[in-house]
């Protein structure tokens, strides 16, 4: 489904990505692990269109994504979250989610017409509003935030804010969900619970959703993923099932030797 082939990217003299290739299949959970600076976040930024690679290609169902803008890539079906929180703190949980739905729609509609139809109280506008609310509530219930939909995003706990970001992505169901260190800064219990929710989401999604999970906690990744990709110094050094990765001496060197 998602094929990343021979991606290279450098910033000035720094080679952030060197010939990175791997793929993500249908309903597959692929974990990407590696130390800080190994190129994980750069890779996501290339896949989601925020960076243009110097070479190589990214394809989703044989459609090349490298020349597309981030918004277009999102509509192709690649949804992502960021390492840091990117919510509108002063909007309610529900409003944040609705905004996510609306934003996903802006790319395909004439905005002037959308605005006019709303202004003139046309039935289509009312239908859209109801649809937005329905989709948003459903997304919130899938991440377990139904009870808190009227709270301000700022007043949520950190773990719940991460869940809210997840709900926002789900308003336009992605084919590939990319999560950049979703559990960073959480307690072990919170992290485990969030990962359980995420894995549940992928396994029970109506459409075939795959997960590309960037994590620095090795145990979590090996626990939940079908395959793990190990990166170091901008290159993929191993790509295999978790059982093999767990016993890879190179991985141990990076994780245990590095600490």
């Amino acid at each position: 489904m998602l094929h990343i082939s021979n991606i290279t990217k450098s910033f000035g003299g720094v080679h952030a990505l060197k010939d990175v290739s791997f793929s993500v299949g249908d309903r597959e959970i692929v974990g990407v692990i590696g130390p800080n600076g190994s190129g994980k976040s750069t890779l996501i930024n290339v896949v989601s269109g925020f960076y243009r690679p110097d070479g190589g290609d990214v394809t989703l169902d044989d459609v090349s994504l490298v020349a597309m803008a981030p918004a277009a890539i999102r509509r192709q079906g690649i949804g992502r979250t960021f390492q840091n929180l990117r919510l509108v703190e002063k909007m309610s949980v529900l409003d944040n989610t609705i905004a996510g739905y609306y934003l996903a729609q802006t790319g395909t509609r004439s905005l002037l017409w959308t605005w006019l139809s709303e202004l003139l109280f046309l039935p289509s506008a009312r239908k859209r509003k109801q649809e937005a609310k329905r989709v948003a509530r459903e997304a919130l219930s899938r991440v377990g935030l139904s009870e808190k939909s009227e709270m301000l995003a700022a007043n949520l706990s950190y773990a719940d804010q991460k869940r809210l970001e997840l709900a926002r992505v789900l308003t336009l169901p992605p084919r590939i969900l990319i999560l950049d260190e979703p559990t960073a800064g959480m307690s072990v219990e919170e992290a485990d619970e969030l990962i359980r929710t995420i894995v549940d989401l992928v396994k029970t999604s109506d459409n075939s959703m795959s997960l590309l999970l960037i994590e620095h906690r090795l145990d979590l990744v090996l626990d939940v993923s079908d395959r793990a990709v190990v990166m170091d110094g901008g290159a993929v050094i191993n790509d295999d099932v978790p059982a093999v990765i767990a016993h890879d001496p190179e991985v141990r060197r990076i994780y245990v030797g590095g600490e």
Binding site: A71, R74, R168, V169
Partner: protein, 343 residues
């Protein structure tokens, strides 16, 4: 209690007020959504209380100004495009209307629609610049745009009649109300203000407003959610400038004389400042700021060109109060549920 921080002392002052008249504040809070409507109703009674036609015209212009600046909140407050060009769109609309009704004998209604389209197109042209430049540099581009259009208005005598201004505009009327009767002109402009306010409010709470707030808050997040930023910003700019164009048409009807000086840097600059003082996304704050300042400046006309300086001073004070002076007072008095949607 008041020693904790300045912020809590301010709040406790308002809370003290609320304790003394709990009933009144509760009533105000309950009906806060009806306040703008109430304001317009009071405005509707004004012509029957004011005898002087001059004072009535000042009020008329105050409502016109409030309408233009309210429209500016769409591009400036919600779209986040800090621009100094609203006066230019006002002018584009005014000149389009003046030329069409005078030289081509269009009806006022169709001329105003053409004015909205033309000014909206002007907004689109400026929005194109936001593709290339951002923030401070965009302000400079919009400043250049403002100067360029003002120069065009002054130096194309064959079309705009040049620096002397546009005389000889016929008597105009809309929906059976004539601009020549001060009271009817007043009601037309009051109606326009109500129209623009209602449109802007609906936009702010709907599809576009919410999307724009997110884009404004976090461009990267918005793009990652599938939003093309230019499309959204350009739409906000077109709506905002198109509404300014309509207001420009009403200006032509009201004062029957326009000159390039009315739409230069000073006009655009003060409009942007009003929006900043009023709190950018607080419609009630922005509209009342523009309204009150227009009345005050008209009152102190003798100060001449110092007036821009006075507005500037107000901005310097305003930037120290987050979200604008007026909006801050409104928020403290009326912490209604709707305020949570504002920045």
């Amino acid at each position: 209690m008041s020693q904790l921080t300045t912020d809590t002392s301010q709040q406790s002052k308002f809370r003290g007020l609320a304790n003394r008249v709990p009933g009144a504040v509760a009533v105000i809070r309950r009906f806060s959504s009806a306040l703008p409507a109430l304001f317009i109703l009071i405005g509707a009674a004004a012509p029957f209380l004011i005898d002087s036609p001059f004072r009535l015209q000042v009020l008329t212009l105050a409502f016109l100004n409030a309408a233009v600046v309210t429209a500016l909140t769409i591009s400036l407050g919600y779209g986040g495009l800090l621009n100094l060009s609203q006066g230019t769109y006002y002018g584009l609309g005014a000149y389009t209307t003046a030329i069409l009704v005078t030289e081509h004998e269009w009806s006022f209604f169709t001329a105003v629609i053409a004015a909205a389209v033309f000014a909206g197109f002007g907004g689109y042209v400026l929005a194109l610049a936001s593709l290339r430049v951002r923030d401070d540099y965009f302000v400079l581009v919009s400043l250049g745009f403002t100067f360029a259009i003002a120069q065009l208005m002054a130096n194309l005598p064959s079309i705009t009649r040049g620096r002397e201004g546009f005389f000889g505009i016929p008597k105009l009327s809309l929906f059976g109300l004539s601009f020549n009767d001060p009271i009817q002109a007043y009601f037309l402009c009051l109606g326009l203000f109500a129209f623009v306010y209602a449109i802007t409010r609906r936009l702010a709470h709907g599809f576009l407003g919410r999307s724009l707030l997110v884009v404004n808050h976090d461009d990267v997040a918005a793009r990652s959610m599938g939003m093309p930023p230019f499309k959204l910003r350009a739409t906000s700019m077109v709506i905002s400038s198109g509404l300014a164009g309509i207001c420009g048409g009403f200006l032509v009807g009201t004062i029957q004389f326009i000159s390039p000086n009315d739409f230069g840097f000073d006009a655009s600059f003060t409009m942007t400042l009003y929006a900043i003082i009023g709190g950018l996304t607080s419609l009630a704050g922005v509209a009342s700021t523009a309204f009150i300042f227009t009345l005050l400046l008209e009152e102190f006309r003798s100060l001449g060109s110092y007036t821009v300086g006075l507005v500037g001073l107000a901005v310097i004070i305003a930037v120290f109060i987050r979200g604008g002076v007026v909006a801050d007072v409104v928020r403290k008095l009326l912490p209604s549920s709707r305020n949570r949607n504002r920045r």
